[in-house]
Amino acid sequence: MLLSKKHILSVLIGIELMLNGINLIFITVAKAHQSYMADIFILFILVITACEVAIGLAIFILNQRINKTIDIGELGSLKD
């Protein structure tokens, strides 16, 4: 989704799916070692994910209001 879609929301959903995959790998490796450390680190990953989504959606709304587009390729014009 990161590489093939132009919609900003689709790109954000793709990042979320990738982070969920990382969480699953974390918990799998921790289960292999009979450890619970992955639970703590996944909590931090969830916090970072929430921050990233909040900022990303704010930029998305801003881009849609100012540039009147949802294309991620037009994000560069926000700095003008």
Binding site: L9, L24, I27, T28, A32, A50, I55
Partner: protein, 168 residues
């Protein structure tokens, strides 16, 4: 029974993630994204990480998914006529995804994790008291950094909103 549940929820999460990636309409993509998050949280609960599963449901469905739905609603007046062209470079994405999948499969097959997992796997439940105790005693620096990051996010969103009002 637990293994059966884990397999069922894993298959549901994989299928819904594929449907989420293949949908051309953003509202369908968001719906399948929610299904993926729910099934992953049920996988967490099935393998014994109850607190993590519940936090995943609360944070993702109560926070992230609602934020996505708000963004879809707020931009509902936008003309989505070009959404059918969103697959700009599908071949490149498919090739890179397949190479990444092969790489991850090779790494997991060549390491001992899968053998150890098959030997040591147990759905032992981790108490939230133990996790909270470790968070506030052993990992308190990371906890502080995460809280500062959340504060910076709130300030950043407010700054963006202020910028938007000035633009108007």
């Amino acid at each position: 029974m637990i293994n059966f549940l884990i397999i069922i929820f894993s298959i549901i999460s994989i299928l819904s993630a594929i449907l989420c990636a293949m949908s051309t309409k953003i509202i369908r993509s968001t719906f399948f994204f929610g299904v993926t998050l729910f099934s992953i949280s049920f996988v967490f609960i099935s393998i014994g990480s109850n607190m993590l599963g519940i936090v995943q449901i609360l944070l993702y469905t109560g926070g992230t998914l609602i934020l996505f739905l708000f963004a879809v609603i707020l931009t509902a007046d936008w003309d989505f006529e070009n959404l059918s062209n969103t697959f700009s470079t599908p071949i490149n994405a498919l090739i890179i995804s397949f190479i990444f999948f092969l790489l991850m499969s090779y790494v997991f097959n060549s390491s001992d994790y899968m053998n150890e997992l098959s030997k040591n796997f147990s759905t032992f439940s981790i108490s939230s008291e133990k996790i909270g105790s470790d968070l506030f005693n052993q990992w308190y620096v990371l906890l502080e950094i995460a809280s500062i990051l959340l504060l910076a996010t709130i300030i950043g969103c407010l700054a963006l909103l202020k910028f938007r009002r000035e633009e108007k």
